[in-house]
Symmetry: D2
Subunit: 284 residues, 4 copies
């Protein structure tokens, strides 16, 4: 089934739902999903609508222009239109830890993600064989701290050649430069192995162990220049006990990390995430 998805953000005012749903109705759109949210503090309106294209009265190529003229300009809308015949293109950055990567590959194989994965980039060779069994190109780019900027240029060139829409850091263990991050605003998803904002920074399981918490967690968020402070997309937790060692926490945490990261990827792929400041609206 051919589908269109419309994502809207604009200053809140009365009547937006009526006008947008009337637009879809009068062009014979069969609505599949429709969600809206008003951020009262910021006075912002958010909407996501998804409808069948086959019976739609406007030509696919005309929708953007017609919607803008009829509605977008009037309501000062920031809007994007997506069609499901063009799958988003995702790059994965990975280091040696395999659990998040394998979870993503497992879902990709099973058809859970509507995505193209044109490349996986790693600073280690370890995961090459398995990645290639999934028929995805694997690029080994060793880290060179002295020359990080050249490494990033090489990475960015690869991303651009492959028309990558967004990047997933699947326990990549390297910090991206501000210049890199600016190229992909709200389009780099990281998994942090703590229940943010607790235990920001390195070795969060050690910190959780020292503090004696009874629950550990993981957080998927968009990467911003401030470390571990970007908009949170998804979190989950797991109960721990006094006899669990740091090594246990690391292992239990991996189960949370992989599920949380994969959920965040799915929301992003389905255009269900709106980031505003350091928060997100998620229509699931």
């Amino acid at each position: 089934m051919q589908k269109a998805t419309l994502i809207i953000q604009c200053p809140d005012q009365k009547g937006i739902v009526a006008v947008v749903s009337d637009f879809l109705y009068k062009h014979h759109g069969n609505i599949l999903e429709i969600d809206q949210h008003v951020d009262q503090e910021l006075g912002l309106f958010f909407m996501r609508a998804c409808w069948e294209l086959d019976s739609f009265g406007l030509d696919k190529s005309a929708i953007q222009e017609v919607f803008e003229q009829e509605i977008g300009l009037r309501f000062k809308m920031d809007f994007q239109l997506y069609f499901n015949d063009r799958k988003p293109r995702m790059a994965i950055f990975v280091s040696k830890l395999s659990h998040c990567l394998f979870d993503i590959l497992s879902r990709y194989y099973a058809g859970q993600f509507e995505v193209e994965i044109p490349l996986i980039i790693s600073n280690h060779r370890d995961l090459k064989r398995v990645v290639e069994a999934f028929r995805i190109p694997f690029h080994y780019i060793p880290m060179d701290k002295a020359n990080k900027s050249a490494i990033e240029d090489k990475q960015i060139a690869l991303l651009e050649e492959n028309h990558v829409d967004f990047i997933v850091l699947a326990r990549y263990m390297q910090i991206l430069s501000g210049d890199f991050i600016k190229k992909y605003p709200n389009r780099i998803i990281n998994i942090h192995h703590s229940f943010l904002p607790a235990f920001v920074g390195a070795k969060p399981y050690h910190a959780a162990y020292q503090r004696g918490v009874k629950i550990i967690g993981a957080t998927a968020h968009y990467v911003t220049e401030e470390l571990d402070a970007g908009p949170i997309i998804e979190q989950d937790v797991s109960r721990v006990r006094h006899h669990n060692t740091v090594a246990d926490l690391v292992q239990m945490g991996q189960d949370i990390e992989k599920v949380v990261l994969s959920k965040a990827i799915k929301y992003h792929l389905e255009h269900k995430v709106h980031a505003i400041g350091n928060k997100t609206v998620i229509f699931y």
Copy 2:
């Protein structure tokens, strides 16, 4: 703030969202919440809309008629209109077990429930003193199995005198007759102490213990004539271990029961539950 809530159920067709939201818009309604759902199997459309009344262009008393003429008849809608200045009136039936009742009273006291509780009916005197400390009338009606129908007549008379909208069975431990149930379709909420449909009937914690399950649960549902088979409103679960006795399960289960029942009451009070057959649509 004065608010109106409109609940709609009708055969699905294109344009309903557009027409309803346009109705609210043209009468200057400020939408607070709006949700819709299509049951594809049954071809049914469900909607809940909630808006501010103060600035609304139609007089409160005229809305029902105008909406029916302009939209309801055209789309063959089954719809209800509620105003928040009239709180729903809830009766509670209880036996000796106190945990669900006290949880409800605790939320009532704290203002979590927009509800009137004109009476509590019990077949035991035990809970009278605490109930009355909350300034709610307590009616002691002892059970008389030989004369159950007369008992129910007495209960129904009390409910009618008190203009009760719906009934909560807070671990009441008695089975209502079909005649009683028919008077309150989808308006009697029961808490069953198992994760339905597992362990239907009496002594579910014993059954769960015998089966060796690792998780127990509780289920809030509307009462229908078939025992424990009515539409499920809410469920939750708790992990158990091999060393837990039946007595432990009972106690752990009480924590689930009270939270599940109180959530179901809240959804019902806010007109967020649509029952269809033995399922529910819940807009939370």
Copy 3:
């Protein structure tokens, strides 16, 4: 059934389990529960054993002395012995918020807690009527910031008169002085309305809302002089969504707070909590 519970803490060495279980065996003790834990970092051994007294070969009054001579001194044990015919005596401090208090009273009424509650102290009169329906003395002691020390003296006098073993701060909203806290080391249980160590201090739900977390939590801990930094006894969490307001978070959080606090009380009552530094060993 008469029961004894023995709580042991000592430097770790081989054979402690053998020696203690042999002690119980040779005096014909029927073990009901036995748990042990070694903190490898600190080199500390913890144990909790619970057995039937009726058939036990030592007189109840002799156990302490005999155990000390035979085992305690040899292993440099810090140990306590409890008998279930003497219920712990708990005081509750409360302010205006009722949800935690009512949850405790509900469990007390239902017999879930093996406890005496000789008094409840509040700086407001609001909860007096309900407390008294449970037949518990209610002491209204208004706060007087200018004269806090005199207020605390009055509170402590009441606690001592009533032979209180431990204190529960059921959303008390006042900070106790260091002098007060020192009198009850690891015997004051507080509920903090965040998932510590995130959102220490005042207004944690506001902070959670601002940060855009997807999960909120609550933490029961022993009170130490450093605010919100004492040993954590229990935590739990709840999922929130973008449309939840701060008021929603407060209400959802109350459901977590009351369950977490009541669980912590239960562990404490059953002598299942060992605090060491800012961590706890909990044998549940």
Copy 4:
């Protein structure tokens, strides 16, 4: 570190903990983990003890005999002794669905499982390439309903050649014969895609959808001749909503299935599961 694990099951009587821990103590065993449980209904005692071998006073090859003579015979114990230098050998049976298999492979790769996987058997060729990237032999044995017994003979021959200790049915979708099952009592782990005992049999997600439950689940259990009735090892659940289709339930369920199955495998590998009748004692 060389470790021994002792698993005991015997009629309950006083002193077993004392005698066993004394045995370990007098031979200078450094206890790493020790757990016990009494099933009061059945009058059965269960114990698991794990200790360091390096400093142990008995020769590894002598422990079995010495323990039997000194303790086992006296207490009529059914006991097993395991050493961690011999990893259990696990076979996996799989069909086309990949999520459980990939989760197992992912943990195997990451070193979470102390296991050998000498072979994977499938009635389809689909998963061969990925399995072989993990360097595990893949045996394609197509199903032939007319000749099921010959197929099973072939499978059993392979299992025996490979000295397989236990079998995991990772969504295998075929029912094993009673004869096959009898060869591996409590040594075949299956994942059932419902929260047993709800929705026994085929198509549980369809049944859950039709019943309108608010929570779905998955169950790992040992296979017995009665379908879906064997002892439950692990269960977990996930919340669903009215807008979730059967296809959504299937996908959400896969996340639960894989985690539940992998946990059950881990408990089994660590000799933490005692099956008794249709229940399990699990020392985690």
